[in-house]
C-alpha cells in the first residue's frame, strides 16, 4: 500500500516537472510548477521533515507562484508564448549516461534513516540529547535553527532583507 503511494507520488512528480518544462504557455508552466511544489511538500512530510514540507508548501507553491505571475503580468503579454528549440544531439546521449552514473553512485549512499550515516553520527546526537534541557524547546529543529545555529539564521534573515531592498531599488526607481 505504501509502495503504491510512493510510486504514484514519484510518477506525479516526474509528470509535473516535465510538464512545467515542456508546456508552451508560460503561465501554465508557472501553475504546474506550483503543483510540483505541493507534491514535493507531500514528499518532505512523508520523509518526516515536516518543517521543510511547511516551507515548501508556503513558499514554493504559494509565494513563488505569486512572484512569477506578477513578473509575467509585468512583462509584455506577447512574451508569454515561447518557442522551444530542438533538443541538441549531445543531450540524447549525455543525459542518460549521467543518469546511469548517478544511479551507480547512489549505491554507495547510506540507507535512509540509517544510524551509521555520517549525518547522524557527527553533532546531531548531541542536539537530540541536550536540546530539551538546554532550551525548553521540544521541537529540535527550532532549537537548532534559532539557538545552536542562530548565526546562520541571522545571516539568512539579512540575505532576505537584502533581496527585498534590491527589489525596491531596482523596480521602484521611476516612481515619484
Amino acid at each position: 500500500m505504501t509502495l503504491l503511494f510512493e510510486i504514484s507520488l514519484l510518477v506525479l512528480l516526474i509528470i509535473t516537472a516535465a510538464g512545467a518544462m515542456l508546456v508552451k504557455d508560460l503561465i501554465s508552466s508557472v501553475l504546474i510548477l506550483g503543483s510540483y511544489s505541493f507534491l514535493l511538500a507531500i514528499v518532505w512530510a512523508w520523509l518526516g521533515a515536516v518543517d521543510v514540507a511547511f516551507v515548501e508548501a508556503v513558499v514554493g507553491a504559494g509565494l513563488a507562484t505569486v512572484f512569477f505571475l506578477l513578473t509575467l503580468f509585468g512583462t509584455a503579454p506577447k512574451d508569454t508564448r515561447i518557442r522551444r528549440t530542438t533538443t541538441p544531439f549531445v543531450a540524447w546521449f549525455g543525459l542518460p549516461l549521467l543518469g546511469l552514473l548517478l544511479l551507480y553512485v547512489a549505491e554507495d549512499l547510506p540507507r535512509f534513516g540509517s544510524p551509521d550515516s555520517p549525518a547522524s553520527v557527527h553533532v546531531s546526537p548531541e542536539y537530540l540529547k541536550n536540546s530539551l534541557q538546554d532550551t525548553d524547546t521540544p521541537n529540535v529543529v527550532t532549537a537548532v535553527l534559532m539557538d545552536y545555529r542562530a548565526f546562520d539564521t541571522l545571516i539568512e534573515t539579512a540575505v532576505i532583507f537584502t533581496a527585498g531592498i534590491a527589489c525596491v531599488l531596482l523596480l521602484r526607481r521611476n516612481q515619484e
Binding site: 508556503v58 504559494g62 513578473t71 532550551t135 525548553d136 527585498g164 525596491v168
Partner: protein, 150 residues
C-alpha cells in the same frame, strides 16, 4: 494594473479567509517551539494574507493600505534579531548566546534560551513578512508605470 477582482465570490471568500490565515500564521509562529513551523513560515503566511488582500481587494482596500504602511518598517525584524544578540553582549556573554539575556523574572538558563528563541523568531517573522509584501508591491508597481508609458 492591480485592481479589485470583479467576482463577488472571490472577494467574499478572501475577506473570510484573510483573518483565518492570519490566525493560523500566529499559531504557527508562536507554537514553533512545540510543533512544526516557526518564524520563517509564520512570517511568510502573515505576509501572504496581506498579499491576498492586495491582489483580490485592490489598491484602495484596507489590507493594501495597511501593507503600504507596513513596508516602511523594512529592517525592523533584522534589528529585533540583532538586538537580541546585542542584549546578550550587554549581559556579559557572546553574541546570540541567549543564556546571558538579563531578564529580571527569569532565573533558569533554559528559560532564558526559550525566551531568546521566541524573540528572535518574532524578528525573523517580521522581516520576512515585510520583505514579501515589499517585493509584491514593487512588482505590481512596475505594471502601473508600464501602463502609463504606453
Amino acid at each position: 494594473m492591480i485592481q479589485a477582482h470583479e467576482s463577488v465570490i472571490v472577494r467574499t471568500m478572501s475577506r473570510l479567509l484573510i483573518p483565518l490565515i492570519q490566525l493560523f500564521a500566529l499559531y504557527i509562529l508562536l507554537f514553533g517551539q512545540y510543533g512544526p513551523g516557526g518564524g520563517f513560515v509564520g512570517g511568510v503566511m502573515l505576509g501572504t494574507s496581506l498579499i491576498l488582500g492586495i491582489l483580490v481587494l485592490g489598491p484602495e482596500s484596507a489590507p493594501c493600505l495597511l501593507a503600504k504602511k507596513v513596508i516602511h518598517g523594512d529592517g525592523v525584524g533584522l534589528i529585533i534579531f540583532a538586538g537580541v544578540g546585542g542584549l546578550c553582549l550587554i549581559g556579559g556573554g557572546e553574541f546570540l548566546n541567549y543564556s546571558n539575556l538579563r531578564i529580571p523574572w527569569v532565573d533558569t538558563d533554559s528559560h532564558r534560551r526559550y525566551l531568546g528563541i521566541l524573540l528572535t523568531q518574532l524578528g525573523v517573522a517580521v522581516d520576512i513578512a515585510v520583505t514579501a509584501i515589499s517585493i509584491v508591491i514593487s512588482l505590481s508597481s512596475i505594471n502601473d508605470s508600464g501602463e502609463s508609458h504606453d
